[in-house]
Amino acid sequence: MKDLPSTAYHLTCSTVFMAQEGDGNHEKPGAASGYGSLGPRLISKRRDMILILLRFMALLATTSGTIVMALNRETKTFVVGTIGTTPIKATLTAKFQHTPANIFFVVANGWATLHNMLMLVIETYGRDLDFKGLRCVAIASLDTMIFALVAAGASSAAFIAEIAKNGNSHAAWNKICDKFETFCHHGGAAIIASFVGLALLSAISVISNFKLQKQKTTVGSVDAM
């Protein structure tokens, strides 16, 4: 057991829980598996199962938000006037790129999708990965960062959508949802999906931070600042 003292305090979040619950049918903390074995581990802890389920649902929500908004496009032909008896038609296209807030929304949700995918892969295949004891910190901080990003993107797109739906009479900004109904419906669906993903991400972020606090109390002393 030569490598045991050096890896003794590299407790990952999952092994801390296992040590606390007194479960015997998993590898002990600091065992020789280390970074070598990266196969899928048995997910038998209910807490880990819940977290993985939450991450999967958040992945679905952010993916659908990204894709629906990115493919949001509507072309409509309007009659703008008549010369004699022939009507003059103008074709207008509503794309999501016309509004910078929507571009930010797509980018933010895209990053959230990638983050969720990465976290799912780490939780299922990389349970032994421990970056010098920084695993819990990295996961918790990344979760919080992505939560902030999605919150910003979703709120900006939501307020722009509110102006598009209701107009703003004080600024003489007309509503456009009465003309481009499908565009508005798809955009609204994407924003709702993103808010659902935001709620799930908030739960995930809270759970990751609690895991971090638990790791802190088992390994070191509590400092009340």
């Binding site: 004891g133 509590v222 400092d223």
Partner: protein, 163 residues
């Protein structure tokens, strides 16, 4: 060490309080009016829901910061305050992002939607709103520094302790 830590935290919270208060007051007091074709056109923060959201969130965060300044340093509430700090920072980010989106449309317009920029007609309101947004952004930066510092202070025992 704990005294220096609490002093730095206190200082950061004071600056954050100042920034959020500044953002609230400047945005709430931003006002301009103009007359176009005998039509009085008044610009206030309450004309736009996202500016209202910005004012409300900054009020809430400044009240929260004031409350945390009054808590004694050795109490056990500091872990709850860490979580609430995260929540407040996220609220600030969301409100700033929403207000920026609307302010961008107000300044540059959106030619595809037929929304004309209004900054040409109400320049004073525009400037005051810009100042409020800058103050809000400074508040976000300070809050993130505060969050990072609190997390680092709370986690230092982890890396020092060995079994």
């Amino acid at each position: 060490m704990t005294k220096i830590r609490s002093m730095i935290t206190c200082l950061l919270r004071l600056i954050a309080l100042a920034a959020t208060l500044c953002a609230t007051i400047v945005m709430a007091a931003a006002h301009d009016s103009t007359e176009i074709f005998n039509l009085k056109f008044e610009a206030k923060y309450s004309n736009s829901p996202s500016f209202k959201y910005f004012v409300i969130v900054n009020t809430v965060v400044s009240c929260y910061t004031l409350t945390t300044l009054l808590i004694p340093h050795k109490s056990l509430l500091w872990r709850l305050i860490l979580i609430l700090d995260t929540v407040m920072a996220l609220l600030l980010t969301s409100s700033f992002s929403a207000a920026m989106a609307i302010a961008y449309v107000g300044k540059k317009g959106n030619s595809n939607a037929g929304w004309l920029p209004i900054c040409g007609q109400v320049p004073k309101f525009c400037d005051q709103a810009t100042n409020a947004l800058i103050s809000g952004f400074v508040a976000i930066l300070i809050y993130f520094f505060l969050l990072l510092y609190s997390l680092h202070a709370a986690l230092t025992p982890v890396f020092c302790a060995k079994d």
